[in-house]
Symmetry: C2
């Protein structure tokens, strides 16, 4: 049996390794268009900031290490340009040589990931304009900052990547301005009411956040970025621009091969991560996945989902099994996200109010402020918790937590509770969250929020 894995950053290597583990007799071949596999993409902002310890080149495994340790064949600088699933055939381009060849496989796993969304404004291809998606992006940005006379960087997009990049700029001693239509960071994950501590920390760091959109990137005679023009007609002078306005699944290869996409624009898969084509599975940032609470399909391009879907895809690709015959199943994601920037942890789990509403729930949101430790314990910090519950049954739908400490892990507690359908009453009364003066106040902030929700529901 020959299995082809297409894409080698995170999901691809995980799938290839798992396939080989499950079927040592199979021949597993991985193709990656870029020169690198197994890149620690999530560390890139810290790499750019020069904050990482040890071997800081973000390469978790070289192609040779990946091949040797996992027993798979790895081809970097090889782009798959065509997939004929019925015929079991791939066309591969060795990009360094501009040469193509055909290869035959029995099964295919698509892990082509996502690309950074572009702005679609004039000047976007100027020197000094970057996205942050691949190792080449990260190295390019870092080199630019090290070699050009950069003083001010415009970061377009206030999502978690934009926020991390802005912090990286400040770590490098540069001025940074974030442009985000909402005029604040993490607007998709955090309600404005709960974001105060983060907003103030960003502001205190000297990073400006402006409710503007770039309409043009202006360059000097040398082709280098000089300024960004915004939809308010402002011109913001800068020597670098980082575009961090989200990602879109890289589906061209799949589409051309007849793979069906879902409503989100990502590849549609069943619970075995199988596409509509019999011998094609997909995983990672290129697929859409069911959301645990309501089963809706969402595009959730984060690493843990990629890793898990990769394993499911690989196991099923190897066995070609379905649920009824014991195939491995991906049950879905409980969306959760966390960042630490400018000394503040911000985390969200499950639905926001808007998402809950869109999903047909009648959400109730409550927000409380408490302390991270017993109030009199030194180092105790304010913590803001926003809890979103379903008015009908009091089920916990989501939560947002912001504090200088002990916030992100609390979102993990919510993930577990949401996953198992816990209600506000369960959390308020039944879940024994720890009390210890240096670690948590007498009544955990999550429980206080749940009690507040109960009070409002009654």
């Amino acid at each position: 049996m020959r299995i082809a894995v297409i894409g080698g950053l995170a999901a691809g290597p995980a799938a290839a390794a798992e396939a080989k583990r499950e079927a040592p007799e199979a021949e597993v071949v991985l193709y990656e268009a870029s020169p690198h596999v197994s890149v620690g993409a999530c560390e890139m902002p810290y790499f750019v900031a020069d904050r990482l310890d040890g071997k800081p080149d973000l390469i978790v495994l070289t192609p040779e290490e990946l091949a040797r340790s996992r027993g798979i064949d790895v081809f970097v600088r090889h782009r798959v340009t065509h997939l004929d699933a019925r015929a079991g055939r791939l066309t591969v381009e060795a990009t360094a040589y501009n040469a193509t060849r055909e290869e035959r496989f029995d099964r295919f796993i698509l892990a082509t990931g996502a690309r950074a969304r572009s702005l679609g404004v004039p000047g976007e291809s100027a020197s000094g304009v970057f996205t942050l998606r691949s190792l080449l992006d990260a190295r390019g940005l870092k080199r630019w900052l090290e070699t050009e006379p950069v003083r001010h960087v415009v970061v377009v997009g206030g999502g978690y990547v934009g926020l991390e990049v802005a912090e990286a700029m400040r770590d490098r001693g540069l001025r940074a301005t974030i442009l985000d239509p909402k005029g604040r960071v993490l607007a998709k994950s955090l309600a404005p009411e709960v974001a105060g501590q983060l907003d103030r920390a960003v502001h205190a760091s000297g990073v400006a956040v402006r409710a503007e959109k770039p309409t043009e990137i202006l360059t000097g005679n040398d082709g280098r970025v000089e300024a960004v023009r915004t939809d308010r007609g402002e011109i913001i002078g800068c020597q670098a621009v980082v575009v961090a306005v989200g990602v879109e699944p890289r589906t061209e290869l799949a589409e051309a091969a007849g793979v069906t996409l879902g409503k989100t624009g990502a590849i549609a898969v069943d619970e075995h991560m199988r596409t509509n084509l019999r011998n094609v599975w997909a995983c990672g940032d290129v697929v859409e996945v069911p959301r645990i609470i309501d089963g809706a399909k969402i595009h959730w391009p984060l690493a843990p989902t990629g890793r898990r879907t990769a394993r499911v895809a690989a196991r099923n690709a190897v066995s070609a099994r379905t649920r009824t015959s014991g195939g491995d199943v991906f049950r879905g994601v409980t969306p959760s996200v966390a960042v630490k920037a400018f000394g503040i942890e911000a985390a969200a789990a499950g639905f926001s109010e808007e998402q809950a509403q869109e999903a047909g729930f009648e959400p109730l949101a409550v927000q409380i402020r408490h302390t991270t430790r017993t109030k009199v314990f030194p180092g105790s910090k304010p913590i803001d918790v926003r809890l979103i519950v379903d008015r009908a049954r009091g089920r916990i739908l989501g939560g947002q937590i912001v504090a200088a400490e002990y916030a992100a892990q609390r979102a993990n507690v919510l993930v577990a509770l949401i996953r198992y359908g816990a209600t506000a009453r369960d959390l308020a009364e039944d879940v024994d969250l720890i009390y210890n003066p240096p670690l948590a106040p007498a009544v955990d902030p999550l429980k206080i929020a749940a009690s507040a929700a109960l009070g409002k529901l009654a």
Copy 2:
């Protein structure tokens, strides 16, 4: 309706306040033998260490504040010496006056708590020998340390209170020696394999831990403690001794009134916190409670359990309702405990291996070491996770987590998972724990432990 609440430290005030909230027309009277109500008992070690911020006298509410804010009658220095439930009668002793009187009530809530266990060795009543249970204890110990020429303190018992006290001594610049039969701290909560980081931190702080038991406390001519003699025949010179060998429920009043005790020696209650006597409820450290996983009755003298059982007792006492008629129900505890001492967080949730075995499970324990953040992220620390699962179904029974950061909240994640019956497979594959370089590694240590358990189960 007149309701008497007996005991005013933590559970008592919570019960009294809740009773008044539920039945504003009722007369709620609280009796407390000591001069204080609403004491922050868990902060006492830090109070003794002089580490607390602000008003550091541990009094959360004065009797007057408690009375005024909650609308209840509060009598401090009033000990209830006799309870005749059938006749609806209490005998109360005003300890300052050595005077007793009788009072009539319709319903009674016992919140008489627990007392520190004593050693039962000669010399225990010497000056300079303390337990740490009441505010008077804490003040007495602190004054002793401030006014006597203390250099070395022997702490008997290496549980979480003993550990916190030893840290307090070191914070005061004193030498401390912990005596514990197991020769290590938190021996009941942590398996020796997982405790390494904590053991090393205790050792590095200069606190000695000795596998010895005191057999006698030696005093000088002035009646002050001079040394502790141990079961190994050693004599350890010291100028103070703190006995922290656990607590026992204070059940005399209840027993004399005909209240049934459970196997643990604490008061037996039903799920409404009602005792065998029709008009008597009980809550807090004086009752035993069902453990969530197996329903076994345990004595679990921690503050969150006290608060919750207090509310259930109060609501049912007010309404005298039972489950079938909609009474509030206490479902049980998922035992969980956490400490931070000497820079290390140590936490445990659910069963230890021994407890699981005793409860009739066939436990499998796995232990992994990982990092608290991405390995290359500055500040990343080792984290040790021990996971205990049921061999039969892979159900998560318990876990122990030790690290310099991000440990305690992870125990809360386990609490939620245990509470809802999650299996190792669920945790390894289905629970979306956050990944973000400064906050957590790519695969959460809990998930790595769960995968290790799956591997061993297969």
